[in-house]
Amino acid sequence: MLRRRAALAVAALIPFLAGAQERVVPIDKLRSGVEFAGADVRAMQADDFANPGFLWVERGEALWREAVAGKSCASCHGDAAMSVRGVAARHPAFDRASGTVVDLEGRINACRVRNQGAQPFERESEELLALTAYVATQSRGMPMAVSIDGPARASFERGRALYTARHGQMNLACTQCHEQSSGKRLYAETLSQGHGTAFPAYRLEWQGVGSLQRRIRACFYGIRAEMPRPGAPELTDLELYLAWRAQGLPIEAPGVRR
């Protein structure tokens, strides 16, 4: 009887123990992508006026107040600075209504569909980028803090498997550039640790703002692998893994990157 009780007690502990994942990048070694960027990119991000990302943030602010069938984001959420502060830091997150893990873009679209009776914005559309940038900026400076427990667990595991597996013609895994070689030069660029805390970001190469999903897709292209389509669940899985990996790092959106 006592042995069974002991066994049950141990069994009860296992999910808790399994949930406590060991960090990949030690917290004192976490470095934002901005630290690997050139001086000009850093200067652009440091100046909120020179940062072109704020053109999107301001559009997002206008969209926040724009009514769709009589209801705007502001109708329910009021002042974004108070109501959605911290939301970007907690996403991707499990969405009970849909039973899936959603990133911030997915959360915004879900709200549009369910609460405004509107069509979801297309991935990488100017409207979705603007709204996401606006919402993400409300969490600027807050540390990334996603949950990978319970229903988010499966997505996290899939994301980790994708991150550590080799892909594409170049047969490279994300870890090879962003863990084994971060800080080293690739051509004229310095490899970062591969965090996504600056997104949606203004990327000089895009000449515009783009999402973290777009950045991940660009990496797939770079290693000559097929890019998952925008909105694909694999991308959300990766986003969740990246967010967990970056936990503790402050949100910088809208960032500026080369």
Partner: protein, 106 residues
């Protein structure tokens, strides 16, 4: 994206220069790119930007594709009287943009 953002020193001393900054949302399409269908994307850049201070033109730029997308200009204007700064621009497609700010001169 907002059409543009303007930053003007809120106060200026008469006879002294004050800083003016503007950031404009515009792709500044060079005309040298192709889209995903392989079609040539026609050139469309802002070709002229101008600033008037109390109605007087004080600064203008004849712009080409050599200026980066989402153009950013920072320049200085000599303060005379309090009043409006009016910005205008036009692109190759003939689309006009405008912005406005006020400066208080003491």
């Amino acid at each position: 994206m907002a059409d543009s953002r303007v930053s003007v020193a809120p106060q200026a001393r008469r006879g002294e220069p004050f800083e003016v900054r503007i950031s404009i949302r515009h792709p500044m399409e060079t005309g040298y790119r192709t889209n995903e269908s392989g079609e040539h994307v026609p050139r469309n850049v802002i070709r002229r930007f101008s600033c008037r201070y109390n109605g007087t033109p004080v600064f203008a730029v004849r712009v080409t594709s050599g200026i980066a997308a989402n153009p950013y200009f920072r320049f200085f204007v000599t303060a005379r009287e309090s009043g409006p700064l009016e910005f205008e621009w036009i692109d190759d497609a003939g689309v006009r943009g405008e912005a406005r700010a006020e400066v208080k001169v003491t």
